[in-house]
């Protein structure tokens, strides 16, 4: 039992030591591949203007009757796979 604990402790210690040694390389050589995305120009959304289209009719009145015209029509059409339920 004592031996087991000792060996686990050693195992962790040597893994950290090895990782530290191998990590002392410039970040550019890092192995992990992360997808980056610059979000810097992501606009601040709170403001005090009135939306220009606010005066154009009733933008939000879509009752049950015309709901059928709303069908997803975007890049989702390019995604295939057997786990998709057969939508239309």
């Amino acid at each position: 039992m004592t031996k087991n604990i000792k060996s686990k402790s050693l195992f962790v210690a040597s893994a950290v030591a090895a990782a530290l040694t191998l990590s002392a390389v410039p970040a550019a050589q890092a192995k992990g591949k992360a997808e980056k995305c610059y979000g810097i120009v992501k606009a601040g959304q709170n403001d005090c203007a009135t939306a220009t289209a606010s005066c154009a009719g009733t933008a939000t009145k879509d009752g049950q009757s015309d709901a059928w015209i709303y069908v997803p029509k975007g890049t989702c059409a390019k995604i295939i796979g057997s786990s998709l339920k057969s939508g239309k």
Binding site: I40, A43, N46, D47, A49, T50, T52
Partner: protein, 297 residues
């Protein structure tokens, strides 16, 4: 109602009586790379306070840098000073955090409401001008000023509708607020024009009823005109150049009040930075005109 604060925020890198513009993320990089010497037309920046309430991230990175070079004004849109259900204390705390962090020379909010039943509508909705509304709004302004330990400015609204229960005219309601609290007025000249056109009021009369010494800042913006029920309706969309009628009203305002820090607001169809600085320059020319400066300089 006015508290013990005799508020003087002049130690806070004061905003000069020249033109500033609204700070937009699209322009962060350009503003930093040009530096203030290349853009003498722009004396200061204003931000919408709520857009800098995240814990961290790029918005703070850029605002920190830009704040080093320019005086700053923080213009809130989310506190809902005219709400009947009490101020949101969490939001008040968020405002204090960001104001403490950036030390803006001016802090402002709106004479309007946007929260009911805990729902935030993201619209600056007009208030009925009654004694009840006056009392509630003044209490909230006092509360905000005491919480922040400084003076705030409140902005006159633009509106598309009026309430039957109003028994005070808008400029009188504003003057009552200014008398009863120690706050100042952010006079939005475009809002005055938009509301006066929409409701058939006289814009020059409106402005002449305000007290020059209470005005701490002026806003200018573009609006659009919609044909509506056989008449024109002005929509305050901040999406174009300031129109000639509003420039004329601004000139009239300056002739009564002297030079005041003046912001160019442009929040929709945001143009190139150069367009904003040209718009700012147009305000600077009027601010420095003989008519304005001599009388008050």
């Amino acid at each position: 109602m006015s508290g013990p604060l005799r508020m003087d925020n002049n130690h806070l890198d004061p905003i000069p009586a020249n033109a500033g513009i609204g700070l937009k993320p699209q322009h962060y990089e350009e503003i930093l790379s040009l530096g203030p010497d290349a853009m003498p037309q722009i004396g200061w920046f204003e931000v919408h306070t709520e857009n800098y309430m995240g814990a961290g991230g790029p918005p703070h990175y850029y605002l920190e840098k830009i704040r080093q070079d320019y005086p700053l004004s923080m213009h809130g849109v989310g506190l809902s000073l005219g709400t009947a259900e009490g101020l949101n204390l969490d939001h008040l705390r968020r405002i204090k955090n960001v104001v403490d962090r950036y030390q803006p020379a001016l802090v402002s909010e709106h004479i309007s409401w946007s929260i009911a039943n805990g729902v935030y509508l993201n619209d600056l909705i007009p208030l009925p001008y009654t004694a009840e509304t006056l009392q509630i709004t003044c209490e909230h302004i006092d509360q905000m000023q005491n919480f922040l330990g400084r003076q705030i400015l409140v902005e006159n609204p633009s509106s598309y509708l009026l309430f039957k229960s109003s028994n005070m005219e808008e400029p009188d309601f504003i003057n009552e607020i200014l008398t009863n609290t120690a706050c100042g007025l952010l006079l939005d000249v475009n809002n005055v024009y938009v509301s006066c056109q929409n409701h058939g009021w006289d814009a020059r009369d409106y402005i002449s009823r305000l007290k020059p010494e209470t005005v701490g800042e002026i806003h200018l913006a573009g609006h659009s005109v919609k044909e509506w029920r056989g008449q024109s309706l002005r929509i305050d969309d901040h999406g174009s150049h300031v129109c000639d009628e509003v420039w004329a009203l601004y000139e009239y305002t300056l002739s009564l009040m002297g030079p005041k820090p003046t912001l160019i607001e442009w929040d929709n169809n945001i143009p190139a930075l150069i367009t904003l600085s040209q718009e700012a320059e147009r305000a600077n020319i009027l601010l420095n005109s003989d008519q304005c400066a001599k009388k008050f300089g």
